[in-house]
């Protein structure tokens, strides 16, 4: 790891101030991606601003169907929240399968979506839930937030403070993990809203990061069933291909995970 300076923020405002004091500062929340990346000397922030102790960024609240999750809420907290399990069990299920227990104790939802790793789980949930990403300066719809591999709409210094969404009538998530890293090779989050509208978001498979699948959405809007998902052709053209899975194999996984997500919803 290159040398760095550590700062602990006590509030969002404090964090912004600390971050703006340096050109090369980065926010760190759970650090489950950033610290290993720094260890491998692939990132070299001059300063780290720790958000893990910012009280206003923590906690889960459920009002009717309206869900708000503070950005500094850990995966463990999302996976074990009784309120959330009642309102939207799919997101608790997703959180319960990110990384491993130790990672879930540290990693946060805000960190995950701000990093937008193409194989991370949360971005698919945000897209499929039509979530709103609340930052210190504005609200951004998930559809506008994820802009590419490790790219988001966040401006320099902008902090994800919370996410909100309406719990859908039905939601399900299924992923096929990479056998080595255990990140998603294909993860599919499906939702069906009260008005019957369907969203399907895919992570781990797209060569440009998380994306919605129009074909699956149309098929499932017409007929919400695993069989309907099975009948959709998944185009492998824009899918990732690597040591562990060709684009063709990932296309198959997208279909199979979509089926299983619908079955689980």
């Amino acid at each position: 790891m290159y040398a760095t300076s550590y700062h602990r923020a006590s509030s969002v405002a404090d964090a912004v101030k600390l971050q703006s004091a340096s050109d090369e500062a980065k926010y760190v929340s759970g650090g489950m991606t950033l610290i290993p990346t720094m260890k491998q000397r692939l990132a070299a922030p001059s300063d780290l601003v720790d958000l893990r102790h910012v009280a206003e960024m923590k906690g889960i609240s459920v009002n009717g169907s309206r869900v708000r999750i503070g950005a500094a809420t850990t995966h463990y907290e999302v996976s074990s929240s009784a309120e959330l399990k009642a309102a939207c069990p799919a997101i608790s299920h997703l959180a319960a399968h990110i990384g491993d227990p130790h990672v879930r104790h540290m990693g946060t939802i805000g960190g995950s979506i701000a990093n937008n790793d193409p194989a991370a789980d949360y971005p698919s949930a945000m897209l499929a839930l039509g979530a709103t990403i609340i930052t210190n300066t504005r609200e951004i719809s998930a559809g506008d937030f994820f802009t590419g591999l490790f790219e988001t709409a966040l401006e320099e210094g902008e902090i994800v403070v919370a996410v909100t969404f309406d719990a859908p009538a039905k939601a399900g998530y299924s992923k096929f993990p990479n056998p080595a890293s255990r990140y998603a090779m294909a993860g599919v989050f499906v939702t069906k809203a009260g008005d019957g509208s369907v969203r399907v978001a895919v992570t781990g498979a797209g060569s440009n990061g998380v994306f919605r699948h129009a074909g699956l959405e149309a098929a499932l809007a017409a007929n919400w069933s695993a069989d309907a998902a099975a009948g959709v052709d998944i185009d492998a053209t824009d899918l990732l291909s690597d040591l562990h899975g060709s684009a063709e194999y990932r296309a198959n996984l997208v279909k199979v995970m979509a089926k299983r997500a619908v079955a689980a919803a």
């Binding site: 760095t4 550590y6 491993d100 227990p101 255990r182």
Partner: protein, 163 residues
Amino acid sequence: MAKVAMTVNGRKVSKECEDRTLLVHFLRDTLSLTGTHVGCDTSQCGACVVHMDGKAVKSCSMLAAQAAGSDILTIEGLAANGELHPVQAAFKANHGLQCGFCTPGMVMTAVDMINRYGAKLDEQTVRENLEGNICRCTGYHNIVKAILAAAEEMGAAGRQAAE
């Protein structure tokens, strides 16, 4: 360099270290607590697992500064008065270790797992909760057996205490 203060195994410590110092190196190099190990660079092997404020975390994936002010428990702090903790005793009785290198992380993970699940643990749950710990010697067979035995023993002890 900054002063980092925390509680480690019940003792308050305060030491100077570079900001880039990982918690695991703070424990090993600065506090001479070499029971916590480093087995990979990518947060996967779990040889470095310690408890921070009662929860298992990977000490190789956080800075010592991030842990400042917290309560850290390492493998050295688990046995009370030289008496093995029930999880340690179960690993011994069930031959849940061979070379011993992954063992501290495994034991700390097992304690955390039992804290979360209690005596409800079953083989499948244990195996899933060992996702963040790699052992190359045992094939996990006896580690799983040891954790189940410890969970049962600790669950029984808990029930007795409650009665």
